[in-house]
């Protein structure tokens, strides 16, 4: 095959440039895949100082990713202005309400805008006053307080402040804090964990109201409604008659989190960002979780079938098949239309903690081979599968992140399904119950898997293997495009999407087909750079 390049030389070539110690460390994060015999990859460890990384921080993972998409909570960033500013409207978390009477604070940025005096004398009083002002102006049902780097250092206790302010408002407003200082952990991943813990402590289980249909009640975990993905997923579930109790956290509300424990199944999309919540929901309330991927039309069909299988309901099974059949008509037509443009192309995906895996399904549907991939903040289990969990060593950086121990909520726990039953179903349909197989089993032999890709490695990847399309984030976008390779952002889809579900697949087919056939890439060289200029000669 034309694009079948030898990727095995990459590691040694790329690490040459690094200082010795760095080379040694980086070498462990770069592997050639073998789906039959998954190699170990180093992940979730510190980025080496000075290395240009894709990664962000804990605050970004906590405030930006997990809590960002929830519309009816006032999220106050406690810190200097920057962190609040940068996480304001930059993630394309879409949300929709039926009227202006409903709360929607996503369009706002709230900050205590700490000044030097607050650093010197402490910022707790300012934070309290900020909460009071937020209440007076916005009267929200919940307020989140997010700590930035200096907050931890100067010793402001955001949890204590939150408690005090709840008391001041007679506990009528749910106020809670997050110790998500940017220096914690090694990437956004720590922020997800911290966010998950606080969701559990302050929201989940608060409200026993059972809303909507009592049949097929599910939660969707690790879906953030980028580009309207959640809208498409909601559409599909509604069409199938599946009741979506809570989404963590695309297009979500506080009260949906509070009622999440009334569901009977949790679906985990982004394993990395939210598996903690899935586990806690099972431990406390008895809700089993299964891993799904709603990115890709076939994957969506597969996920729906898993749900139907889980509920063991013929009516649902039939309905799901009907929906799949109906939706797949348009999907197939769209796919057929673009296949001539996409088949045989190659892609590379370096982004996030699950998207670099999920999107391979879509590329596969387009006949595009993924020759290299990796996560920005994944752990080994995201690469190699949860089977390696016991063998992952907890290092100092991870140890610093609060681990909470949850126990069964005796009042609310209900066994939805016995382990035996689940395993019986699993034999017929691969539910991925309590399991995630990771990215590597799906990737082809020899493909490059690189964790925490550095700029230098990206540069080399493109230089050595020039793919037809590269997927990463905004910081990488124009670097890659300068080299004449189109880059699709998979954090935020540029301004595209939805890409989830059936209609999302169609959007993705069209967008990728567009990107690999955009004419401007042919015009990068000026004609006078391409050919020997022939000068006209005149006698005069």
């Amino acid at each position: 095959m034309k694009n079948k390049k030898d990727l095995s030389k990459f590691r040694e070539t790329v690490i040459e440039k690094y200082p010795n110690k760095v080379a040694k460390k980086r070498a462990k994060g770069i592997v050639n895949n073998d789906p039959e015999n998954i190699p170990e990859i180093q992940a979730n460890i510190r980025t080496i100082p000075g290395i240009i990384t894709q990664r962000g921080c804990t605050y970004a993972g906590c405030k930006g990713v997990v809590l960002g998409p929830t519309r009816d909570i006032v999220n106050i960033t406690h810190g200097p202005i920057g962190c609040g500013f940068y996480s304001w409207l930059t993630r394309r978390n879409q949300t929709t309400t039926t009227s202006d009477a409903e709360e929607n604070f996503i369009t706002y940025c709230f900050s205590t805008d700490m000044q030097d005096s607050n650093i010197v004398f402490g910022g707790e009083e300012k934070l309290k006053q900020a909460v009071r002002e937020a209440v007076e102006l916005f009267n929200p049902k919940a307020i989140g307080i997010f700590s930035t780097c200096p907050v931890g250092l100067i010793g402001d206790d955001v949890h204590k402040v939150a408690e005090q302010m709840m008391e001041e408002y007679d506990n009528k407003i749910n106020i809670f804090g997050f110790s998500c200082e940017g220096y914690k952990g090694v990437s956004q991943s720590a922020g997800h964990h911290i966010a998950n813990n606080q969701l559990y402590k302050h929201l989940i289980g608060n409200d026993d109201t059972v809303k909507g249909s009592t049949k097929y009640r599910i939660n969707m975990l690790g879906e953030y409604n980028i580009g309207g993905d959640a809208f498409e997923i909601e559409r599909i579930f509604e069409k199938c008659g599946i009741e979506l109790v809570a989404t963590f956290s695309g297009n979500s509300t506080i009260s949906s989190f509070e009622q999440a424990h009334t569901a009977d199944l949790s679906l985990v999309m982004c394993h990395r960002s939210i598996n903690y919540v899935a586990e806690m929901l099972e431990t406390s309330f008895g809700i089993p979780w299964i891993k799904v991927n709603l990115i890709g039309a076939d994957s969506t069909a597969k996920a729906l079938r898993k749900i139907a299988a889980y509920f063991e309901d013929e009516e649902l099974i039939a309905k799901v098949e009907e929906v799949i059949a109906e939706e797949m008509k348009d999907v197939e037509a769209a796919r057929e239309a673009v296949l001539p443009k996409t088949t045989g192309k190659t892609s590379m995906l370096f982004v996030g903690g699950s998207r670099a895996h999920h999107y391979q399904d879509l590329f596969e549907e387009l006949g595009i081979r993924t020759v290299a991939a990796g996560y920005e903040f994944g752990h080994r289990d995201d690469y190699e599968g949860r089977r390696v969990l016991p063998s992952i060593k907890i290092d100092a950086d991870s140890r610093n992140i609060e681990e909470i121990t949850v126990k069964r909520d005796e009042k609310r726990y209900k066994e939805r399904m016995t382990k035996e039953k689940l395993e019986e179903i699993q034999k017929q349909v691969d539910l991925e119950y309590n399991d995630y197989k990771g990215l590597m089993p799906q990737m082809e032999k020899g493909a490059l898997v690189i964790d925490d890709l550095s700029h230098h490695e990206m540069d080399k990847l493109i230089e050595m293997y020039k793919p037809d399309i590269f997927c990463a984030g905004i910081k990488e976008k124009y670097v890659v495009q300068k080299m004449g390779v189109p880059l699709k952002q998979l954090h935020n889809y540029d301004s595209g999407g939805p890409y989830a579900g059936f209609k999302g697949a169609i959007n993705f087919y069209n967008d990728i087909s567009m990107m690999v056939s955009t004419s401007i890439w042919k015009e990068v060289k000026a004609p006078w750079e391409k050919e020997e200029m022939v000068q006209a000669v005149y006698a005069y």
């Binding site: 920057g82 369009t107 952990g185 300068k482």
Partner: protein, 459 residues
């Protein structure tokens, strides 16, 4: 309504900032550092800072924005960031080979109290800084000032680190560029060239954040002030600082260090500010103003005169940075527009004083700077009495939609449009661009919303 919770009712806020008209120092330091050729900015703090700043600049410029980070962990936060920075310096020079590393601090490293001079000294002692290469730094605590302050601090660090006075002054005028677009700097350089003035501009983002697509990635694009030129600024006969908030500190530093006298002028946005810049340059470079420049000016006057009735009395709300807001407001007033609301998160008394003077014939004007001079405040004013036009960064688009008000994008960041780094707003041509954009925005709105029988076929 996108901002459905914003009402005209103001309360006396003392702590909560809502929808800020500013961001933090380090992003300004990073931006300015990119204006030095061969320089890699370095963020001494958590890797989130660097990621946020690179993202913010990238979204605005739609260009690669390269910078490294010390990648603090909890450990470094406790024990200090020395090891991180020293290792970073080694990694960077080895892997990315810049001529200069321009490190700036963050609220994290500032709160810890990292001594940058000492750390860099240690790196030097440890042999981490190759011969002929430089590590410079500035302190940019996020809890002091704003992104503008960070820019100013970076520019001053250029002077501190490089400017050198030799015994002989040269017939060169330094142009210290305040925070503006690469296109704005290019236009100022074009005007200086038209005057045949010899100048050194610093920082200079031209050719860096408006770089071409040529099929290659250049870690260090062609543009930027060279270290050599930066050193030579100490021998220039005069310095013109463009925008006091972002350049006055550098000018003072340069005068103190190298005895180069300076004058502060506004960033040349609009007719009068450009007039003052041209006059200053003409005077200090000892060059006459050529007819071509007079012609450009006359063309601007012509355009404005032709459009005067469309602009007269229109109420405008603005937000942004003081160095651009001040001349912009002055320009609007010279167009007989009424800048009724203006906010900037950047603190400073100069803004109040200049705005008071500029808006003396606009008694209804409200303006505010510093803490809680935010877009929520401005929007509340708009809710109290509407405006005909919004001018500011992309964060105004929700107000524009909610209030159905024409909107001209100006400032930082502009993430939802292109062209701002291609089309200047400075100089006479830049002012003409602005006028054309303003008129276009007003008329597009009019064309769309007026009764059908009132749709105009002419201006």
């Amino acid at each position: 309504m996108l901002l459905r919770h914003t009402t005209p009712k103001e309360i006396d806020r003392k702590a909560l900032t809502i929808n800020p008209a500013k961001t933090c120092q380090p992003v300004g330091a990073m931006y300015a550092a990119l204006g030095l050729h061969g320089c890699l900015p370095h963020s001494h703090g958590s890797q989130g800072c660097c990621s946020y700043h690179r993202s913010a600049l990238t979204r605005h410029f739609k260009e690669p924005v390269m910078a490294a980070t010390s990648s603090f962990t909890e450990g470094s936060s406790v024990f200090g960031g020395t090891a991180n920075l020293v290792q970073a310096i080694n990694t960077i020079f080895t892997v990315y080979e810049p001529d200069v590393i321009a490190a700036h601090t963050t609220c994290l490293s500032e709160t810890i109290g990292d001594d940058m001079t000492a750390i860099i000294g240690k790196a030097k002692d440890d042999g981490m800084i190759p011969e002929g290469k430089h590590v410079i730094f500035c302190n940019t605590p996020s809890y002091v000032g704003t992104h503008v302050t960070g820019y100013a601090n970076q520019v001053s660090s250029f002077v501190k680190s490089f400017s050198t006075a030799t015994p002989k002054k040269k017939n060169v005028v330094n142009l210290v560029a305040g925070w503006m677009e690469p296109s704005d700097m290019a236009e100022i350089k074009r005007l200086a060239k038209a005057l045949e003035a010899r100048t050194i501009m610093f920082p200079d983002l031209t050719g860096v954040l408006d770089a071409p697509m040529d099929g290659k990635f250049h870690m260090y694009p062609q543009g930027g002030t060279t270290v050599e030129d930066m050193k030579a600024t100490g021998d220039s006969k005069f310095t013109i600082g463009l925008g006091p908030y972002s350049t006055e500190d550098a000018c003072i530093t340069l005068e103190n260090k190298c005895k180069v006298k300076f004058e502060m002028v506004d960033i040349p946005i609009g007719l009068k500010a450009t007039d003052r810049f041209i006059m200053s340059l003409s005077r200090h470079a000892n060059v006459p103003v050529p007819d071509d420049v007079t012609l450009e000016r006359g063309r601007l006057v012509d355009l404005v005169a032709d459009s005067a009735k469309l602009l007269y009395g229109r109420r405008v709300a603005l937000w942004g940075d003081p160095d651009t807001l001040i001349p912009l407001c002055e320009f609007l007033v010279s167009l007989d527009m009424r800048p009724v609301y203006a906010v900037t998160g950047t603190p400073g008394k100069l803004f109040e004083a200049r705005m008071k003077e500029i808006l003396k014939n606009v008694p209804e004007a409200k303006f505010k700077s510093g803490e809680r001079a935010d877009m929520f405040q401005m929007h509340q004013w708009i809710k109290q009495e509407g405006v005909d036009l919004l001018i500011g960064n992309t964060y105004g688009k929700y107000i524009a939609r909610d209030e159905d008000t024409p909107f001209v994008r100006f400032g930082f960041p502009i993430t939802d449009r292109s062209g701002h780094n291609y089309m200047p707003k400075t100089g006479y041509q830049g002012a003409a661009n602005l006028v054309v954009q303003i008129i276009g925005a007003l008329l597009d709105h009019e064309d769309r919303t007026c009764p059908e029988e009132k749709i105009e076929f002419q201006m």
